[in-house]
């Protein structure tokens, strides 16, 4: 139940590895085509954030089974500069992604559970879970 696989994120190619890891696990767990692609995109966003803002960190993917309720959990960890104003980062349109609707609020909307902890100069940890329906 606690088998967790991680990918270090230091360059752009690692984003692809994180995606691959997530897609494989999502497929194995029985997520449909669309959800596989969505989860992969969410992982991609989180990995890209690490690559762009923290320099390096890691993405871990973990199958979840809580009393028979199955799901997939993404953990994004870094020791980067941290986020000064979390409320602001979670607002729509804060990212400069030109109307993409992704960024952290997009990931949060997509997943069923989402939490973020960040300390300035220490780092950021994001947890996001999607349940299998």
């Amino acid at each position: 139940m606690d088998i967790q696989s991680c990918v270090e994120v230091r360059n752009e190619w690692d984003i692809v590895s994180a995606r691959q890891l997530g897609r494989n696990m999502a497929k194995e767990l029985g997520f449909g085509n669309v959800d596989q692609a969505r989860i992969t995109t969410a992982i991609s966003e989180l990995a890209r954030n690490i690559y762009l803002y923290a320099g390096n960190g890691k993405i871990c993917i973990q199958p979840i089974d809580q009393l028979g309720k199955k799901g997939l959990k993404i953990v994004a960890l870094d020791n980067g500069p941290g986020i000064r104003d979390i409320r602001r980062v979670m607002e729509d349109g804060y990212t400069t992604s030109g109307g993409l609707g992704a960024g952290l609020p997009g990931v949060k909307r997509l997943m069923d559970e989402f939490s973020i902890e960040s300390t300035v100069d220490v780092g950021t940890e994001i947890n996001a879970t999607k349940w299998l329906r």
């Binding site: 692609a37 729509d92 992704a102 609020p105 909307r109």
Partner: protein
């Protein structure tokens, strides 16, 4: 059968009907189906997934490359799904903001806008329409015996900040009742309040006047405000009502000049904000001349109808998109 299965079946039906007859009716049904999907908050990538499923059903022998290309399309559409969900969230937020602004605007309307008083011998018309929900123009009437004090102000800036600023002006004026009798002193006092209390990049223009319905004089003073007009019935002529004076809030030591005009029967005092004169149409800004002709066109109507007609014509010229708050006041001496 689940809702999802029903959608798949429906889509398969629709697409088969279209393939058979290629009729406009089938496409119309496609559009209605699309509307229903959107109402059910189904994402664009779900539509692609739906299409893929039905394709596999209808073309079981589809070559593998074709299948793969559909998967790629799905991947590209995921980004649109993110945008689509952001849209839904923005719509909700927008609706909440709008309803908040609507409450604030109605507060503004009931608290800050004064009623039009009845004054012997005067026919009064007033219209004040905000460009957006909140009004950054302000007007105020205070009747005291045979004297009618009237103010028109325009906060430089629009929307919510202007509305906040305007509520300050209202409370400041309420606390200066004695100065209502002397327009130039009222402006001097208000200038102090604005200078001390208002954001340094917020300015207010104002015209304040006092109509004496015994002597039939209109005394006034202005603080950088768009000049009004005086209509002289004897000459059938509109004169600019110039009042020199600096905008409120710029200089601590500003003083204002008093003016006075005698008003004859049939004359009109016309006060306005620059939203009336600087209204921009597809052919450029309107000239003050054109405003005068519009007023002239309707000036035989009762004052209230007159200001409304002028507004409606200008609203249409601007294709129903006001770029600035609009305030027009007419005091017409009838006897």
């Amino acid at each position: 059968m689940t809702g999802k299965d029903a959608i798949i079946d429906r889509y398969q039906d629709l697409i088969q009907t279209y393939i058979k007859g290629k009729s406009e009716t089938a496409l119309y049904k496609g559009q209605q189906f699309s509307r229903k999907l959107i109402e059910q908050q189904i994402s664009p990538e779900d539509v692609i997934s739906l299409h893929i499923q039905v394709m596999h059903e209808l073309f079981p022998d589809m070559e593998e490359d074709m299948r793969d290309s559909f998967d790629f399309l799905l991947e590209v559409m995921i980004g649109y799904g993110f945008a689509y969900r952001e849209h839904q969230s923005l719509r909700d937020k927008q609706q909440q903001l709008e309803s908040e602004i609507e409450v604030a605007a109605s507060m503004q309307q009931t608290l800050l806008m004064s009623d039009v008083p009845e004054v012997d011998g005067l026919d009064i018309g007033v219209i004040s329409v905000p460009a957006k929900k909140m009004n950054g123009d302000y007007f105020n009437f205070v009747k005291d015996g045979n004297k009618l004090s009237v103010a028109v102000a325009d906060i430089i800036g629009k929307g919510i900040p202007a509305a906040l600023c305007m509520s300050m002006i209202k409370y400041a004026m309420d606390s200066l009742p004695q100065q209502q009798q002397m327009p130039h002193l009222l402006l001097e006092n208000l200038n102090h309040v604005v200078e001390q209390n208002v954001h340094p990049n917020m300015f207010i223009t104002m015209l304040h006047g006092l109509y004496d319905s015994d002597k039939h004089t209109f005394s006034y003073a202005g603080a950088g405000h768009e000049p009004g007009f005086i209509y002289r019935a004897a000459d059938d002529r509109f004169d600019d009502m110039i009042a020199k004076g600096i905008v409120l809030g710029v200089s601590r030591t500003a003083t204002y000049q008093p003016y006075e005009k005698v008003i004859e029967i049939g004359d009109m005092v016309i006060l306005l904000s620059d939203g009336v004169t600087e209204c921009r149409t597809s052919k450029g800004f309107i000239e003050r001349d054109e405003i005068v002709s519009l007023i002239r066109k309707h000036m035989n109507l009762p004052a209230q109808e007159m200001v409304q007609c002028v507004f409606h014509e200008l609203e249409k010229l601007q294709e129903f998109e006001l770029r600035d708050d609009f305030t027009l006041i007419v005091l017409k001496r009838v006897v």
